[in-house]
């Protein structure tokens, strides 16, 4: 057993840190305040090779791993603890992996280089207003007529709505829609590359809206209505009616990367906490850290974060074995518990750190002069439900531990 990162991983982490210190850290508060990641920064991140990390060089990827994508998400979130920039990064690392694995050859060559360059966004459009956790219950439909799919429906709480419109090329989503009889449940879902804007041109039948979110404001979240939106069959992902399985594969990677991002933000919060309790003096000049009520709590918070970090990189390591190395020793189902565990633990460990940090700061933390709230609200998004509700993670774990027949969703 070896708990050390490889030399390549260490050097990559160093390079991401250096990039973040130079280009992200000085702008993170502005990103959160203004509610947007500047297009020039996205382009620079593309030039630095921070998107399509686990994708092969043949398709303009970086030839790296899911572990490396997690390292990037963690470090970027440390330097933008609101996690907006990290979320942009992780979306454009996790979901393009499905394009590489299951899309047509010419579609891969069309989409992936533009995502890698930071000229196009590629995210996930699965959630609908009927309930994000019930993926099998989606209502959006896709009907094939004369070799073209016609999509109708509505997606909600989707990241990247504004970015697609603002980036020079545009972008789209990994989208799932019903393609068969409703009674087939999750076995009548097909996945598509929903290209909304390409080479600057927005396609017909897409009506977007953007929400005013309370946290990780740098990346936009909104929804859209599809009205007779047409997609050529070549943009279908994989086999018809197997979209649910591809989606679960995508969530496996996305949840690892989300966990890594929240850990990066949590590390930042913990560093702020340590600095504060060492320097803040009260009750006859005693540092806050000298009170056991504070220092013991800090140890617990650190322990929870470190445990979540180990779970996250263990899941990333296993995902690399399955998806990158394609090692037959492991199957996708082996990822169920490791992925659900890291997604369950990491955001909760981090939001707990923010809650304590803000209590230690006192009233200052309740003002916008103190930036802790930006990290708190940003990471809180992942305890609410983004990339899978926490109770869905518990269901996944319980199903594997006890048996599907005992645990209903």
């Amino acid at each position: 057993m070896d708990f050390e990162f490889s030399e390549d991983e260490v050097r990559f982490r160093d390079s991401v840190k250096e990039f973040c210190k130079r280009y992200i850290e000085p702008r993170w508060v502005e990103i959160d305040e203004k509610g947007r990641i500047p297009v020039d920064l996205i382009k620079k991140m593309g030039e630095q090779g921070l998107f399509n990390i686990p994708i092969s060089e043949e398709y303009s990827g970086m030839g790296g791993t899911i572990t490396m994508a997690a390292i990037a998400a963690e470090e970027i979130a440390y330097h933008d603890p609101s996690v907006a920039t990290a979320v942009y990064t992780l979306l454009n690392n996790g979901w393009p992996l499905l394009v590489e694995r299951y899309s047509d050859e010419d579609v891969k060559k069309e989409i992936l280089p533009k995502v890698a360059a930071g000229e196009a966004f590629y995210g996930i459009a699965s959630t609908e207003s009927y309930g994000g956790s019930d993926v099998a219950g989606i209502k959006t439909t896709a009907v094939k007529k004369n070799g073209v799919w016609i999509l109708n429906g509505e997606k909600i709480y989707i990241s990247g709505i504004r970015e697609i419109q603002e980036l020079p090329v545009g972008g789209g989503y990994f989208l799932v829609a019903k393609t068969g009889k409703p009674e087939y449940g999750h076995k009548n879902i097909t996945a598509f590359n929903l290209i909304i804007k390409w080479n600057g041109k927005i396609r017909q039948g897409w009506k977007p809206t953007i929400f005013d979110e309370i946290g990780r404001r740098g990346i936009s979240t909104g929804g859209f209505i599809l009205e007779n939106f047409e997609i050529e069959d070549k943009y279908r992902i994989g086999e018809e009616n197997k979209g649910f399985y591809y989606l679960m594969e995508g969530f496996n990677v996305a949840r690892i990367l989300v966990a890594a991002a929240t850990i990066g933000s949590g590390r930042w919060a913990l560093d702020q906490a340590i600095e504060w309790i060492k320097t803040r003096r009260l009750f006859e000049g005693r540092p806050l850290a000298s009170f056991q009520g504070v220092s013991f709590k800090l140890s617990e918070l650190y322990g929870d974060l470190e445990a979540a970090r180990l779970l996250t990189y263990r899941a990333a390591w296993l995902a690399d074995k399955i998806y990158i190395e394609k090692n037959p020793k492991w199957k996708q189902k082996d990822l169920n518990i490791p992925v659900a565990l890291c997604k369950m633990k990491a955001p909760e460990a981090t939001t707990k750190i923010y809650e304590e940090l803000m209590k230690w700061y006192g009233a200052y933390a309740y003002t916008k002069d103190c930036n802790a709230f930006r990290g708190w609200l940003g990471t809180f998004s992942y305890t609410i439900g983004a990339e899978g509700a926490q109770n869905i993670m518990r269901i996944i774990i319980a199903r594997d531990l006890i048996g599907r027949e005992y645990v209903k969703g």
């Binding site: 030399e7 390549d8 050097r11 990559f12 390079s15 250096e18 630095q48 090779g49 970086m62 030839g63």
Partner: protein
């Protein structure tokens, strides 16, 4: 054009930790390529990109960290890297290092220009560049803030206290650069992975026929400024305390 860039493994002072007495914990301090050496590598790579130059980096030492900084130079775009292996316990002085670089040039050269950092992060003696130039008997432009080449001569700008100097020199020459000369590129994942596959050539100090020069260190005194630890109680008379503070500051200037 052929360019040699000697690089030094130095303590990463940004990550230095200290004892409660204030002594730095050198044994556990991480090591990295020196900041101005990194600028020298960047300058060499820019010349390579513009004039199709061949770039070579060399470092002296025997640890895995030395290998890492050569790989870091590869990841920035250097074509060929050497490690001159020396005994870990040998504390080489600048004269010996200059001799090693000179022998390197004779063995792997000729080079049009040797570019290195003006001063290292740890010793800051600014002596290595001039020593290399003296041993090779070629001119030097030291402390360069901006460097250009017009296919005939190098043009270098050096900002000094008394003014800005502009030098023009034909190769071969030695150039030492400050951290003002450029902003070094950050290696990407692709270049990091590529650098892992590149060969690092190894030479022993004996191969270069260099005998370490002995210099006795007579005395080394740290430059220490003691804190004055003066505290003014401003709770009763803020104005008076402020005035006393300013009086002291003025008297210190």
């Amino acid at each position: 054009m052929k360019i040699l860039t000697p690089i030094k493994l130095t303590v990463d002072i940004s990550q230095l930790k200290y004892e409660s007495s204030g002594e730095p914990l050198m044994d556990i301090a991480p090591r990295k390529m020196g900041d101005s050496d990194k600028c020298a590598v960047e300058e060499a790579v820019r010349l390579k990109e513009k004039y199709n130059a061949h770039t070579v980096a060399v470092t002296i030492g025997s640890t895995s960290d030395h290998e890492r900084i050569i790989r870091d130079a590869y990841a920035m775009g250097i074509d060929e890297g050497y490690i001159v292996e020396v005994n870990e316990s040998e504390n080489l002085n600048a004269i010996t290092v200059g001799e090693i670089v000179k022998s390197m040039v004779e063995m792997t050269g000729p080079y049009d220009v040797v570019i290195l950092g003006a001063g290292s992060l740890d010793t800051h003696s600014y002596t290595l560049g001039p020593i290399i130039a003296a041993k090779m008997n070629i001119p030097i432009i030291a402390g360069v803030d901006s460097l250009n080449y017009n296919e005939q001569y190098f043009e270098a700008r050096c900002v000094m206290e008394e003014g800005t100097y502009l030098y023009r020199l034909k190769p071969p020459l030695v150039v030492t650069v400050t951290t003002e000369v450029n902003q070094p590129r950050i290696p990407t994942l692709k270049t990091i992975l590529k650098s892992k596959k590149m060969e690092i050539k190894r030479l022993k100090i004996e191969d270069l026929k260099v005998k370490p020069e002995k210099i006795d260190l007579v005395n080394l005194t740290k430059y220490v400024i003691q804190r004055k630890n003066i505290i003014w109680d401003a709770s009763k008379d803020l104005e008076k305390a402020t005035e006393s503070l300013f009086k002291l500051l003025v008297s210190e200037v």
